[in-house]
């Protein structure tokens, strides 16, 4: 196995007494697509900032491309592409100039940056907007421009913090397609997300993070197999009747999870569980059978839902 591009060992970041990141360890292999899945405030962004060499750790060890970010910040950052949670495009510059100027920040020669900027505009499907003002772009376009900008220095690792948060479904799918292409080309991706579908689509391997700690680690499918049943039956009885219905449902499927608005029945077969529910004389207002997802893994591990 090739040497990992990121090695975190017992990585900790404290703000006064609060530990935003509380002793997490992980490795990322070159070419791998690695995800940090967790709710808001889990410490994902703080971890990303440390990996991006813009935040120093309180304790533990961190090596990015074999270097210590505390000592080699600029050298590490020259090999990274960063897509922050909130776009920080240069609104005083036009679309293509954003790429040119950003390339210059890395000290790259103009001719090389100009060629690369045109390729990246093509990749981000923004060639026809090269001269547009940044503020006139849609949310999805801004996001794609931010990703194009992060690629200007041909980085060895691309860090994406919540890449599709706040985008409409269509814009998300376009973005996923672009990221998937990068992955196919062998770019190492590290991304945080609180969307399970995003994690399932893009990540080869992920860690589930909650309250600054790693709750589980593995491939998405393996995590689901390990921590959840094959299928899930979701039934709704109306908010004040869920609790009562749950008592009657005891024993149906492998396990029950009662949420404020619905009951989740974890079972090998959702359809068979539904038959059992009706046999017991209950008539749910709505019912839905689906495959288990990372959302269920998270719920199982933390007792909470990802998007609250």
């Amino acid at each position: 196995m090739p040497a990992p591009v990121i090695t975190a060992t017992d990585l900790t970041k404290k703000y006064k007494d609060f530990a935003a990141v509380d002793g997490i360890s992980f490795e990322v292999a070159p070419g791998e697509s690695f995800g940090l899945l967790g709710p808001n405030g889990a410490g994902k962004s703080t971890t990303m900032r440390m990996v991006g060499a813009v935040s120093t750790r309180t304790s533990g060890d961190l090596r990015i491309l074999g270097l210590d970010p505390d000592e080699h910040g600029p050298a590490i950052r020259s090999q990274l592409g960063v897509v922050p949670q909130q776009d920080n495009l240069d609104t005083e510059l036009r679309v293509r100039d954003n790429l040119l100027v950003y390339g210059r920040y890395f000290g790259l020669p103009h001719s090389q940056v100009a060629k690369r900027a045109d390729e990246l505009l093509e990749f981000a499907q923004l060639s026809d907007r090269a001269k547009a003002k940044v503020d006139d772009l849609s949310g999805g376009m801004k996001r794609r421009l931010t990703i194009a900008r992060a690629l200007i220095n041909d980085p060895r690792i691309l860090l994406l913090d919540e890449p599709t948060t706040g985008l409409d479904p269509q814009a998300r799918h376009i973005l996923w397609d672009r990221l998937f292409r990068l992955k196919e080309r062998g770019t190492t991706l590290v991304l945080t997300t609180h969307y399970m579908d995003e994690a399932e689509q893009l990540c080869d391997r992920l860690v589930v993070v909650d309250k600054g700690r790693i709750m589980a680690e593995g491939r998405p499918a393996a995590l689901i197999r390990e921590h959840s049943s094959r299928e899930v039956l979701e039934v709704r009885f109306g908010s004040d009747r869920n609790e009562g219905a749950a008592a009657t449902l005891a024993g149906v499927g492998d396990r029950l999870e009662v949420l404020p608005d619905r009951i989740l029945v974890y079972a090998q077969s959702g359809e068979e569980a539904l038959v059992e529910v009706t046999k017991r004389g209950l008539e749910p207002i709505t019912s839905l059978v689906r495959r288990s997802s990372l959302e269920d893994v998270f719920l199982r591990l933390t007792g909470r839902t990802l998007v609250e």
Binding site: D70, H72, P74, D90, L93, V101, F106, G107
Partner: protein
Amino acid sequence: MTADLRTDTQHRTGGVRALYSGNARAVVARGLLATRSTNWIIVLTGVFEPVFYLLALGIGLGSYIGGVTDTQGQPIPYAAYIAPALLAVSAMNGAIYDSTWNVFFKMHFGKLYQGMLATSLGPLDVALGEISLALLRGAAYGTTFLLVMQALGLNLSWTALLALPAILLIAFGFASLGMGITSYMKTFQQMDWIAFVLLPMFLFSATFYPLTVYPEPIQWVVQALPLWHGVELVRGLTTGAIGPAMLVHVGYYLVMVAVGLVFTTRRLRALFLD
């Protein structure tokens, strides 16, 4: 607090390598491109303010005022007395405008520095680049004003040519300290304090009349302020009253540049590379 800072520096052993990539010119290039494409008209308007003062007070009011002397006691016209002061002020204004309000917006709203510091740029690159931009603007204002003075016959000696490097130094000092101070500002109200300090400094730094009108303790206060040193330095050069005291003025600005750079760099690191 001091203890915190100390552990902080010990923790970061990267030294200059972690702060500086020798690429401040990329920050300057970005600033010039942004100015060209968005706000060059606003930049232009700043040139006129000291010219208006010169016309109103120097030429207008000045025709009623006599008996003014240069720093070595030679009688000179009133307009020639206040013009170098206004020259120093124009360099200061240009530098301050760019290094305070512009920096404040980039820091808190544009997230520009966050983006820059995610690249191989270090905080010292950003500080040097932004301060250079402010310096350029101060120099542009100053040069324009110096040409106006020449046209009005207010440069009394060939040494007025040396006022050019002098206003560069003045602009560098104010740009550097201005950005350092701005980096500590969090709200608009705090930013207003800068204007609150600048106005009296502009009016009372021996700009419009000699320092000797003040009682001695007040003179000390004025002599501690940066603008007074700028005014005296430039006035000596444009009127041809050269003296060793000028070295003190130059020294004052060199210290100001150094202090501003250290504070700005330290603060950018604390804000964006915590």
